[in-house]
Each structure stands twice: as structure tokens, then as C-alpha cells.
């Protein structure tokens, strides 16, 4: 009986802790937004962060996009040709990418690459007292360090997602048209008549913006909240990836349900 009670107690404890952290995280997020005015005026700071989160993520995003697109082409053709609709493979690849895989996979990769980098960097700055030093120099560390990274993430994510979708479509084209031999004209024309700008592409962009906000905020918060030890920072980076991924997938479901309504 006692172990069961203890487990329940632990679970209850964890839930309360989780809620407390959520509240703390929400306050942190809102505060970062409030002090963003200063960091947006110092735009070179934001540009520098766009370089480190966005530009440096390009390679992993583009290579992954190519492979995902190619696999979609293969799998899509494999199934569609059974019903004689192999020419719809373009539609399948494009819609899958633009609506879902573009924003979601980009967000997951972003969380893994840029998110962990942000968490580790801020966690380390906290551990080596750089953030304290800034505070003592009468400079708001959140305005100077956290807010620019937030805006950089929000700006980079849709760009990366759009590139992912584009390169993925190209990958699908390579496999379906060049490799397998689906008719190029049919591939593109079917795609163009079935992918709607407003319903599909714009919705994809909206999704990637939301994911950008989510992933970047989580990465920043975990870094800022990390205990200033080696173990603390390492656990924080793990939490960034796990929490970002789960949040992105949950948000994806909610957004998709809302958009397809």
C-alpha cells in the first residue's frame, strides 16, 4: 500500500511542479515580449542570431528535405500505381509536404539543432555568471540575450519550412519523374491544380510560425531556468528537445483540426 501511495505522491508532486514551471515559463515568455522593443531597435543583434539559428540549420534542413521528398515520391508511386493513379504522385508529395511535413519536420529538426544550441548557450552563460555580470552592469540580460534569439527563431522557422517543402517537392520530382518515369507534365499540372495557395501553403506558413514561437520559447526558457551545473545544462537540453517535439506535435493536431474544419 505504502509504495502505491508514494508513487501517487510523486506523480502529484511532478504535476504540481509541471504546472508551476508552466506558469513561470509563461511569465518569462510574456516578459521577453515586453522587453523586445529594445532588442528590435538593436537589430544587428537579431541578425546575428538569425545567422546562428537559421543559416546554420540550412544544411540539415535541406538534406533532410531532399530525402523526405524522395521517400514520399517512392512510397507515393508504389501505392498510387496500384490504382492507376500514378500521375497523382505530385499532388501527394506536394500536399504532404506543404501541409504537414514541411512545418512539422522542420520544427522537430530545428528543436534538435538550433533549440539545443540555444539552451546550452544560455544555460552556460548563466552557469559562468555572464548573465549576472550583465545585470550588475545595469543591462537587462533578457532584453540583450533572450529576446533577440526569440525573434531570430520566429523569423527563421517559416523560411526553413518553406525551403523544406520546396526541396522536398524537388526530391519527389527527382524520384517520380526522372527515376521512375512518371510524366513530367502530368506531375506538375496535377499538383498545381490541387494545391491551393490559401488552404495549403498559407496554412503551412501559419503552422511554421506557431511552431517557431513554441520551439524557440521552450529552448530559451529551459536554458534560462537550467541549474548552473554541467548536469543541469545537459538535462535542460534534453528537456528542450522532448518538450519542443511534444508541443509541436500537439499543436499540429490542434491547428490541423482547426484548419480543416
Amino acid at each position: 500500500m505504502a509504495p502505491v501511495l508514494k508513487t501517487l505522491e510523486n506523480i502529484g508532486h511532478k504535476v504540481i511542479d509541471g504546472i508551476l514551471r508552466l506558469g513561470y515559463g509563461a511569465r518569462f515568455f510574456i516578459y521577453s515580449l515586453r522587453v523586445s522593443g529594445e532588442s528590435l531597435r538593436r537589430f544587428p543583434l537579431v541578425i546575428r542570431e538569425i545567422y546562428f539559428t537559421g543559416v546554420m540549420s540550412l544544411i540539415i534542413i535541406l538534406v533532410s528535405a531532399l530525402f523526405v521528398g524522395m521517400v514520399l515520391g517512392l512510397q507515393g508511386y508504389n501505392t498510387l500505381q496500384r490504382y492507376g493513379s500514378s500521375e497523382a504522385v505530385g499532388v501527394l508529395v506536394a500536399l504532404a509536404l506543404v501541409r504537414e511535413l514541411g512545418p512539422v519536420v522542420t520544427a522537430l529538426l530545428f528543436a534538435g539543432r538550433a533549440g539545443t544550441a540555444i539552451t546550452a548557450e544560455i544555460g552556460l552563460m548563466k552557469a559562468t555568471e555572464q548573465l549576472s555580470a550583465m545585470e550588475m552592469m545595469a543591462i537587462n540580460p533578457i532584453a540583450r540575450v533572450v529576446a533577440p534569439r526569440f525573434w531570430a527563431g520566429v523569423i527563421s522557422m517559416p523560411i526553413l519550412a518553406a525551403l523544406f517543402s520546396l526541396v522536398g517537392v524537388f526530391g519527389g520530382y527527382l524520384v517520380a519523374v526522372q527515376l521512375i518515369g512518371v510524366d513530367s507534365g502530368a506531375f506538375w499540372s496535377q499538383m498545381q491544380s490541387n494545391v491551393d495557395f490559401r488552404d495549403d501553403i498559407v496554412n503551412g506558413v501559419i503552422k511554421s510560425l506557431v511552431f517557431g514561437v513554441a520551439c524557440t520559447s521552450i529552448a530559451l526558457f529551459e536554458g534560462y531556468d537550467a541549474p548552473p551545473t554541467a548536469e543541469g545544462v545537459s538535462r535542460a537540453t534534453t528537456r528542450t528537445v522532448v518538450n519542443s517535439s511534444l508541443t509541436v506535435l500537439a499543436l499540429d493536431f490542434m491547428l490541423t483540426a482547426f484548419m480543416l474544419h
Binding site: 546575428r48 537559421g54 543559416v55 523560411i159 518553406a162 520546396l166 495557395f197
Partner: protein, 161 residues
């Protein structure tokens, strides 16, 4: 890293992001084909709209001249009321026939417009009087069977004479 190098790379990054979005809109999506120009609205009653969807194309002679704006049910007439947005570049007369056709054998449905002979042209808010509803597969089959059956009975009648 030099400040200017970072600026260049970020500039390139944002630029290709924008271009990617544009490319997606143009090559992958239907932005170029969706009517960005001015349109005027006409409506038509159909017995059966079949699988027609909003934003389906309105074609004449196979060319897209507009989009389906709205599909609703008229409770008085017990028929479907479809409103169409037609590009202002194209004019159709009041005796135009609107029918719901299928692209290919099992493809998407669209509204086809066949010009009539009237001198007066359709204006914004007018109604198309001559319409033909979608072909419902079940009715087609039952009609075929009925025809086959009556053909058979005609033959037996003739034999009987």
C-alpha cells in the same frame, strides 16, 4: 566572424526563404491560375450539384473563366443555388447554358458554360436560366437498365405482331 559576413549570409537566407515561398505559390500551388482580377457574380439553380465544391473552376470551351463562389440549398425551390464568380474579361449572354461536368471519367467536377444566342449579356447579380445538373451514376445505370428492358419488350411486341 566578421559582422559584414554575417549580414550577407542572413540577407541571402531571408531572400531565398522569400523566393522559396514564391516558388511554392507559383509552381506548386495555383496562385497564378486563381483569379486575381475583378469578377462579377451570377447565380444558377441546379437540380443536383453532384460533387461540385466551392472554388471549383468555371470553364467555357475548356478554359477557366471563373470560380464557384458558394453552394447553398434553396428551401422554397428545393434546388441547389450556386453562385459563380466570372472574370470581367469574359461576357456571356442571358441564354447561356450552365452544366455540371466531370473532368475526365472520375475526376473533379466543374461548371461548364455554353454560350447561347441572346444579344443581351449577363450582368452582376443575374441568373442563368438554363442549367443541367450533375449526372448521378445510379440514375444513369437505372436509366440504362430501363432502356435495355424496354428495348427487349419492344422486340417481343414486334415479334408478337
Amino acid at each position: 566572424m566578421e559582422r559584414s559576413t554575417i549580414d550577407v549570409w542572413v540577407g541571402i537566407f531571408v531572400a531565398i526563404g522569400f523566393l522559396a515561398l514564391l516558388a511554392l505559390a507559383m509552381k506548386v500551388g495555383n496562385l497564378t491560375s486563381s483569379s486575381i482580377g475583378d469578377t462579377y457574380t451570377v447565380s444558377a439553380y441546379f437540380e443536383n450539384v453532384g460533387g461540385l465544391k466551392v472554388r471549383a473552376p468555371v470553364k467555357s470551351a475548356g478554359v477557366v473563366v471563373g470560380r464557384v463562389n458558394n453552394i447553398s440549398f434553396d428551401d422554397d425551390k428545393k434546388e441547389a443555388l450556386v453562385t459563380l464568380n466570372i472574370d470581367t474579361r469574359y461576357h456571356f449572354d442571358k441564354e447561356t447554358n450552365a452544366s455540371i461536368l466531370t473532368a475526365g471519367l472520375l475526376g473533379e467536377q466543374y461548371v461548364g458554360l455554353d454560350a447561347g444566342g441572346d444579344t443581351a449579356m449577363l450582368k452582376n447579380g443575374d441568373k442563368i436560366k438554363m442549367t443541367q445538373g450533375a449526372v448521378v451514376l445510379e440514375k444513369l445505370i437505372s436509366q440504362f437498365l430501363y432502356n435495355k428492358a424496354s428495348e427487349g419488350s419492344d422486340k417481343t411486341e414486334k415479334k408478337a405482331d
